[in-house]
């Protein structure tokens, strides 16, 4: 039995701080193509000049870049800034307008997925309850735009959590095909991140030590997962990830039959150009683990 193959991509988030100081957007796109990756992920309000109204000439330039480097747009990151105003909270209608703005722009740039980051109302990052009505108001637009809206499951929120249950319940209740889950692999982190310069033990937020989600928990939500951000922080010269247990994650994703994207999200030290090298290491590591899994599961000859 052959297993489904992953698709490989990179989020330009990986090159934060570098893009605009030591890398152009074009440098970054070329670096993604050089990995033999097929997918590119962006953040709307970071990588689109003149957001939310880019010049028409830039949109032409964007499609020319995709064609030259043979890349497909994957996921587009957006925000619903519920704290936009100090004076009052955001309404569901305003949040829906923000979602619509980004769905339209994402579709115009060729993206099939939009990850909205909703503002939160609690210490454990429960999203503002307006998310439900806001999303319901734009489901038709998402359908007509051929876009899937996919909030991310991100540390410190694990898979087994009321926030995730609520998203799944929303999919089941509405029956929509235009809403899904995005998994950020930071939830599987099982070793502590190094302390930031100047960070004292009192300042440490617990989840930076890793929330240790069991990779097998993925199986319970696999039917709803449309995208994976392959979050990581540091990979050594020996291709060992110091925080994310890929050797356990990759086989589990294969067993789940996941055939979507692994889209690199480097979130480590921001020394100039370090991101370029770290992303290359992660692609080498993930592809090696997938090849090894495939070799083990191939039926014996004859």
């Amino acid at each position: 039995m052959s297993t489904a193959a992953f698709k490989y991509g990179v989020s330009l988030y990986s090159y934060s701080e570098d893009i605009g100081t030591v890398l152009t957007l074009e440098d970054a796109v070329e670096s993604v193509a050089d990995l033999d990756a097929t997918g590119i992920e962006i953040l709307g309000e970071a990588h689109v000049p003149g957001y939310p109204n880019p010049p028409a000439a830039w949109i032409d330039h964007w499609f020319a870049l995709l064609e030259r480097y043979r890349l497909e747009p994957t996921n587009y990151g957006s925000w619903v800034d519920t704290r936009l105003r100090l004076a009052r909270p955001m309404t569901a209608i305003e949040a829906a307008a923000d979602l619509a703005r980004d769905i339209r722009l994402a579709a115009r740039l060729g993206f099939r997925m939009v990850r909205p980051k909703f503002g939160v109302v609690s210490f454990d990052l429960v999203p503002d309850p307006i998310w439900r009505e806001a999303v319901e108001r734009v489901l038709d637009l998402a359908h007509d735009s051929n876009v899937i809206i996919c909030p991310e499951i991100h540390a410190p929120t694990p898979i087994r959590h009321p926030v995730v249950d609520a998203y799944v319940e929303f999919i089941q209740r509405t029956g929509t095909k235009n809403f899904g889950l995005l998994i950020d692999t930071g939830i599987f982190q099982d070793r502590p991140l190094p302390h930031m310069p100047g960070e004292t033990p009192e300042m440490r937020r617990d989840f930076l030590n890793g929330i240790h989600v069991e990779p097998a928990d993925f199986l319970a939500v696999a039917p709803y997962v449309v995208f994976i951000q392959a979050k990581f922080h540091s990979i050594t010269d020996a291709l060992a990830d110091e925080h994310i247990p890929w050797e356990r994650i990759v086989p589990m994703l294969k067993r789940a039959g996941y055939s979507g994207y692994l889209s690199s999200e480097y979130e480590g030290e921001r020394a100039p150009w370090k991101s370029l090298e770290q992303v290359r290491r992660q692609h080498a590591l993930m592809r090696k683990l997938e090849r090894e899994y495939d070799a083990r599961s191939r039926p014996p000859a004859g």
Binding site: E17, E45, A46, W79, D81, A87, F123, D124
Partner: protein, 148 residues
Amino acid sequence: MGNRGTRQMAGEGAAMLERHLVQSVGFRNTGPAGARDGFEFRLRLPYYRGIPASLCDGVAVSVDGESFGFEGNRIELDGRELSLGALREAVDVRWRIDQAAIVRVPRPGGLAVGVHAITVDVRLRQSYFPPQFQPSIVTETRAATIVL
């Protein structure tokens, strides 16, 4: 005033910014020679995405140990100079990551010609962090030179 414009104002596309938050280019005294009334500098957004300007809750500045509170400094974005109150309501103005803001600080006499240690505390409200951690404050110090 000695400000003869920037590339972003001329609409010539985004320039590469310096890695430091406070840019060396653009650090200058304001007001006529002999009657300086303050200083200004260009500031890169310390964040990985652009934001509606209202999510910036001001910028505190300190130069060689002398503090200028965030309440009294003004910020220019897209050619609009905003007091703290106006900044907090500027939901339709955006601070892009490829666009330095101009921070203006009142100080009679301006700053002396020469190299200064300048520190910024950039205050940002992030909707997706727990409310008790807001605003986030990003601090950076660098050496920068007043030419005139």
